[in-house]
Structure formats: C-alpha cells, structure tokens
Symmetry: C2
Subunit: 226 residues, 2 copies
C-alpha cells in the first residue's frame, strides 16, 4: 500500500490527491492555504496546513512512511525548489515534481527531483495532436510498420455491419474492438457518459460516434480518414 | 489544409502552435505581449500582437479562413470569456477553450465554446493513474473481458527470450510488440530518447526497461505486476 505526499493543492495537486485516494492509496495532502486544506481533509488520509519550505515543519511529517512525494507547486518556483531540496535531504525515496519551464525543471532535477512534469507542454502537445488528426484518438506503434489505433468511424460506415463493410479485405486492417458511448442521466439530472468495449461480431451494426480499435499499417489506417 | 488560430501564447498555447506548425498546419498566433509574438513569429504562418477582447481588431483577422480557434488564455478569465464570445459572434466554426475551473468552463460553453479543456485536471488525473499502476503505461479495453496494455516488463523477464518465458502459456497473454528506448546524444550534448517498436520474435532477448504491448484479460495483465 503506497503512501503519497502531495505538496500544493491547486487544481492539479488537488486532482492528484482525489484520484489517488479514490483508488485506495494513502494520501498526505499539504498546502499553506487553510481553505484548501479544509476542503480536502475528508477526502485524504491526512491534510496538513504548513509551509513546505520550513525544514522544521517538514521534519515533523511521517517521513519514514512516505514512498512518493509529488510537488504540485507551479508559480512559486522558489517554494517548489526548496521543497524538493528538503524532501531529498530528508530521504524521501522518489520525488516527482511539476516544472513550469525548462530551467525550472533542470534545477528541480539538480536538487533531487527524480521526475519532472510540465503540464502545459504535455497538454499543448496532446491537444495539438488531437486537432491535427481528430479521427485518430490513440496511436500505438507495434512494430516498424504496424500500429494499433483507435479511430472514429467514417460517416459512411454508420448503419452498416462489419461483414457488409468487409473491412479486412477492403481496407487491409483488423478490427479488434468497437467502443460505444452511451449517455444516461444521473440522479441530479446530469448527463453521464458510459463507454463500453465490444468484441467485433460480423453482423453488428456500427452506430454514429462508434470508435473502432484496429491493427494495420499507418498508411492503411490513414486511408480510413473521413 | 486546416487553419488554426491560437489566442494566448503562454507555455500551453505556445506548445499548441509549435506542434501544429511542425505537422504542417497553418497557424495564426495571437497574444497581447510583444515578446511572445516576436519569439513565435518565425515558427507560425502569422503572429499578431493584439488584444483579443477588442472587437474591431478581431474583425481585422482573416476570419473566413479560420477553421478552428484555440483559446489558450488561463488566468485572465475575463479575457478568455470575451474572446470566446467574440469568436462565436464572428462566426468561427469551432472553438476549443482552456478553462481553469468548472464554472469558467460552463460560462465558456454558454458563450459559444464547443469544447473545453482543463489542463490541470487532465494532468492531475493522468499523473495519479500513472503513480497508482506504474507498470501499466496504457490500458485500452477491447471488450468486456479483453484489454490491450503497455506494460513495463517485470525484473525477472530481463535477459530472457520470449520463447524461454513462454508468456502465452504461463501468463495467458499475447505479446503484440516490444518497445525499446535507446538514448543517444545530440549535437548539443543533450540526451535524446528514441523509442522503437519491434515485432516480437521468439528468440529476442528482453532488455531492462523494455515495454511489452499485450492483449489479455485484466486479471491476467495484473498478474504480471513486478
Ligand atoms: N511554500 C508552500 N508551502 C505549501 N504550499 C504552497 C507553498 N507555496 C505554494 N503552495 C501551494 O501550492 C499550490 C499550487 O501553487 P500554484 O502557484 O501552482 O497555484 P495554482 O495556479 O492555483 O495551481 P494549479 O495550476 O494547479 O491550478 C497553491 O495552492 C499554493 O498555496
Ligand atoms: N486579452 C488578451 N489578448 C491577447 N492575449 C492575451 C489576453 N489576455 C491574456 N493573453 C495572453 O494569454 C497568454 C496565456 O495567459 P495565462 O494567464 O494563462 O498565462 P500563462 O500562465 O503564462 O500561461 P500557461 O499556463 O500556458 O503557461 C499570456 O501570454 C497572455 O499574454
């Protein structure tokens, strides 16, 4: 059972804490803003109001229990760097830290962070890739010439069966799965999306917005573009 | 050939612009900070210094050409909202906008944004999932009981061949691919990582840090945990 310590409860750090907790991990959440510590305390193992650049206060944490520390402090570069240096000094085995620039990331590694994430760069890259090839949702190269891809089905596939479409012969790709999203309404009247993965049967009729998971060459996958 | 207009050249917006440009898209980059416009101008089709909340200036943009607008303004919620409202009013067909809170996202949709991204929440979720199951790098459900997963190989697989490991019989999963990362040094002395995807041959020896792409049930995939 891993114990995580998250320093900084901005939107990013807060989400890290709540997702980790929802998956059963032990989470120690730290921030020097009272309202954030108060808001999270029922959702984590321990919520602590403190300045993570204060060495004495840091030494009062249950350090021997902490497996992984996440530094989720963005704008305050000084606090981010000092927090990393202290965690390293106090022997925390693994430190993953947010960096908001290349030089910030470099310094974080120099003072002891094992891993750096720049969330704006990662998201910028992800969004740009999604905008450029909107029909390809995921792309995993399997070998020099074979890939797995999740693709939104072209409009002219809607209402036809896999057998009718004869995809393997016509497009030279193998359909491993069909993903279909169903939207229902929860008790508060909010739309809830539910995605189901179905094994592809020859007489299944494809529906609008279906996603097919396929294996083939990149060239053949591209040919499916709407 | 799609034309993108990106408003806001912070780290996120800047990355969106450069990745889109590197993939051959036409990019109009807008910001009201001169140094950011100057820095990006050689990497995009057009870089414009302007306040995107100014309706007259917005009308001077090549609006009929723009297919997709990306609003990459974070902290300045007012500017973000006004920019979306103007782009909607001026008939831009698709608007994707960054939101830094749920209410900000809701308002952006109300004033005309087609799609919202909260980069801190998405990254928080992604990092937490990666921390909880570090050996599983990607997980794609294929049907009710089959998934595709990218997994870091357990330590005791290192130095053995697929034939020796007899993975299909012993673990009941199918290896589709091996991903291996090679680190070389570029002309500036910086480490450059290169990932290759290899088709799995029975006598290939697995190396430390290899990633295998497998198909199997979630239960069988979990059993591979180090
Ligand atoms: N020395 C410190 N000790 C403890 N917490 C700190 C310290 N310095 C900053 N923080 C906290 O780190 C959190 C994240 O800082 P940041 O400046 O990135 O804020 P943010 O922009 O609200 O975060 P996000 O980008 O995740 O929304 C804040 O809640 C802040 O209170
Ligand atoms: N009215 C406006 N017109 C044009 N550009 C604007 C306007 N308001 C803000 N911007 C620009 O949007 C960019 C992103 O704004 P934000 O406040 O999110 O800055 P940032 O924190 O540097 O961004 P990031 O989180 O991507 O690093 C800034 O470069 C800013 O100059």
């Amino acid at each position: 059972e891993k114990v995580f310590a998250v320093f900084g409860l901005g939107t990013f750090g807060y989400e890290v804490c709540t997702v980790l907790s929802s998956k059963g991990a032990k989470v120690i959440a730290v921030d020097n803003q009272n309202k954030l510590v108060e808001r999270i305390k029922d959702d984590v193992t321990q919520a602590i109001l403190m300045d993570s650049t204060d060495e004495e206060l840091m030494m009062s944490l249950p350090l021997e229990d902490i497996d992984i520390a996440v530094i989720a402090i963005g704008d305050n570069i000084e606090a981010s760097i000092i927090t990393a240096a202290l965690l390293k000094k106090l022997g925390i085995p693994y430190i993953i830290a947010r960096a908001i620039s290349d030089i910030h990331g470099q310094v974080m590694k120099q003072v002891g962070a094992n891993e750096i994430i720049n969330i704006e760069i990662e998201q910028g890259r992800r969004i740009a890739n999604k905008l450029i090839a909107p029909f390809i949702l995921d792309h995993i190269p399997l070998s020099a010439n074979q890939s797995l891809a999740e693709i939104r089905i072209p409009k002219d596939f809607v209402g036809k069966s896999l057998h009718q479409l004869d995809i393997r012969k016509k497009y030279n790709i193998n359909v491993l799965s069909i993903k279909r999203t169903k939207t229902s309404i929860d008790d508060h009247g909010n739309p809830v999306k539910e995605e189901t993965a179905l094994s592809p049967k020859p007489n299944d009729i494809l529906k609008e917005n279906d996603i097919i998971v396929v294996i083939g060459t990149d060239k053949d996958i591209d040919k499916l573009k709407k």
